[in-house]
Symmetry: C2
């Protein structure tokens, strides 16, 4: 294998946010463009949902503080680690020692990469859920691991994500070293049940499998749903690391802040990798962590409620359209929308929607190669624009629906 061959598997043309760089393809346009305000569902709109109040001010203070904020130890500044550890402990129910069990990273992506890179050796079997966050698959490939997909039958299910624990156990018996999954699931927005979480934890413990649990969206849980933090359960494996960060619900993605907490040896390896990857989470930016879990009273509740409203408005538009399905989101800002078979491929359809309706979505194949008629939307948008965007997308879709 050459590096060129290796990287040809790591395509990013269809990755969220990269659409403006796509090379032009011949597309079969039918009918006229449908005018309307552009909607980029590939990521949240931090103008429609602004960062935590005071974020910029604490950043400014960090800059004023100068050298001691610019150059922190690789895992982060002591006082900020203490703030984050205290709040994550209270939030999850796990006791996190800021000196040993926590590292601050350049975004949650950075935390995931460090966790994967400090647990995968070439040839290691790594289990991932299908569908799940697209980078999981790519990280395993980059580190020369061997992918073991675990199916999740999420459609038309309530109260559980739908992971197949029998297949998971079989994979663990077959030598899987590491299992990575997101909860709430990205792209589906479903939550793992208490039974599923305890099942995963005890299987990992039984077969000595390392777990990386991506809880990025775990603060944005919709009313009536129960969220289970794997890390706080009784029977958990030793080798466990949990990932969180204020980049999504809190709209702080422009600062690139992430955190990983768990097993001290894994955190130490992650710090060593961070030392050669980017040294540290940007020094001044680290100051912004002090606003996290420190939002004005009611701010998070209001934000979650607002997202539920947008979610419901979009679900209403999808309801009753033949062949269209999305599982209602239980947490987070994603919907994974299945459409009927079309005359053209999903990827062409997505490009056509972008050209004709100024609406950007992410193809399902990024999350599961079998999801050839699904796409993901991040509905953290201006509500009216989002609903109008979905309407335009559905109109375009009808022009390409396969008949007979």
């Amino acid at each position: 294998m050459t590096v060129a061959e290796k990287f040809s598997n790591l395509g990013i043309d269809n990755a969220p946010g990269q659409e403006s760089l796509q090379k032009s393809t011949v597309l079969e346009f039918r009918g006229e463009k449908i005018p309307g305000a552009a909607v980029d569902f590939s990521h949240g709109d931090v103008d429609a949902h602004e960062p935590i109040p005071g974020s910029f001010e604490v950043f400014a203070k960090g800059v004023e503080e100068g050298g001691s904020q610019a150059y922190t130890p690789y895992r982060g500044k002591k006082s900020i680690l203490e703030h984050v550890a205290a709040h994550l402990s209270a939030f999850t129910g796990l006791q996190i020692n800021p000196d040993e069990n926590l590292i601050l990273t350049p975004g949650t992506q950075g935390a995931l990469f460090l966790a994967a890179g400090s647990n995968i050796l070439p040839g290691d079997k790594v289990a991932i859920v299908e569908p799940d966050y697209f980078a999981n698959r790519k990280m395993v490939e980059f580190f020369h691991g061997v992918l073991v997909p675990i199916p999740m039958q999420y459609e038309n299910r309530i109260g559980s994500a739908g992971i197949d624990l029998e297949i998971l156990e079989k994979a663990f018996i077959d030598g899987v070293k590491l299992f990575i999954f997101s909860n709430p699931n990205n792209p589906v927005g479903c939550i793992y049940s208490y039974e599923e979480i305890c099942g995963i934890a005890s299987l990992a413990k039984k077969y000595d499998v390392t777990l990386i649990v991506d809880e990025l969206y775990s603060r944005q849980i919709y009313p009536g749903m129960t969220y289970t933090h794997l890390c706080a359960q009784k029977e958990i494996p030793d080798n466990l690391v949990t990932i969180m960060g204020p980049s999504k619900t809190e709209s702080l993605s422009g600062y690139r802040l992430g955190a990983a907490f768990g097993n001290a040896e894994i955190i130490e390896r992650m710090e060593k990798l961070q030392a050669i990857m980017s040294l540290r989470c940007s020094g001044y930016n680290q100051a912004v962590f002090t606003t996290w879990f420190n939002e004005p009273e009611g701010w998070m509740t209001a934000r979650t409620a607002k997202h539920k409203e947008i979610h419901d408005a979009i679900m209403e538009k999808l309801a009753g359209v033949p062949g269209v399905y999305a599982r209602p989101a239980e947490g987070g800002s994603y919907l994974f929308i299945r459409i009927p078979e079309l005359d053209i491929s999903l990827h062409h359809f997505i490009r056509i929607v972008r050209e004709m309706a100024d609406v950007t979505v992410t193809p399902g194949t990024e999350f599961d190669p079998k999801c050839i008629w699904q796409f993901r939307i991040n509905f953290s948008q201006d509500k009216d624009k989002a609903v109008a965007g979905i309407e335009r997308l559905l109109q375009i879709m009808e022009r390409y629906r396969k008949h007979g």
Copy 2:
């Protein structure tokens, strides 16, 4: 090999900036502590030498701009890529296409990691200079490459770095795929001659070796010295990437900004890797690039002159101390200081100096395992404090000098 074994080679206890986390060891103290203002020579002092004027203001504007600045394509925002490409083209003499040949990264460390990670496959032979930047060695180990050290006889030499081009050619003949080096050299502060640069370039071209040239300090060249940009020479290999960034001379390290430019295929692979590593250089922080190469008139000249003064004052303190040697720096803010043999190990001496004189330096073994009586200082400090710190260090040193 287990991941624990793999990471045991990637020690960071002695890495610059990590000293505060060192576990306590029994140290043999001789005499009293020597009081004085703390000096941390492990990195530059951005309070003594402040960031480019206006950096914070352009950051603030980036935050105000909101979503379009927070979420850029992975390789960077178009307008900022254009700014950086234009200035790097003018600076180096290489024509850089902002759409194809440039990527913005989380610090220069991020650029190096991406360049290494997108060029090394397990088992690949990678040549590095000894001594050179410590992360080069660790990155090669992390990516399961095979290290091929190239000696550099830098002592008592003027007008060339002292790399052994015969050994380099032999290494290339023996199958080296990639050669990484820094110019000016970190930790020595010497500059490669025109002949050395052309020699490296033509050998790489002849044997089809990929080059990663770390030019982090290439804007801070002392009067009378000639600096040669490898990328702008006539006979260069196709696979070449050059690294720069405003984190050192420009004191912008708190923002974590780096850039890599060169071969379009390598840049594309680096972008793919960045997509799973940290997505992008922090969005708001990218705005700060607009101050780079855009400093007030005379600012860079004054900054360089000020560093030359500090350099000269320290060299004066070292002059005439038996057994002590440092090659005068030709560029950058580092001195690599050789001391005489002591009664204790270098690592113990360095910890003792930190305890007794509040002076932090970085052991030579980080840069070359054979450098057991050298340490590196970053003299981008307050001049008086730096000189006083070196005086204290030399006083402590005499207490441990080996006699007879």
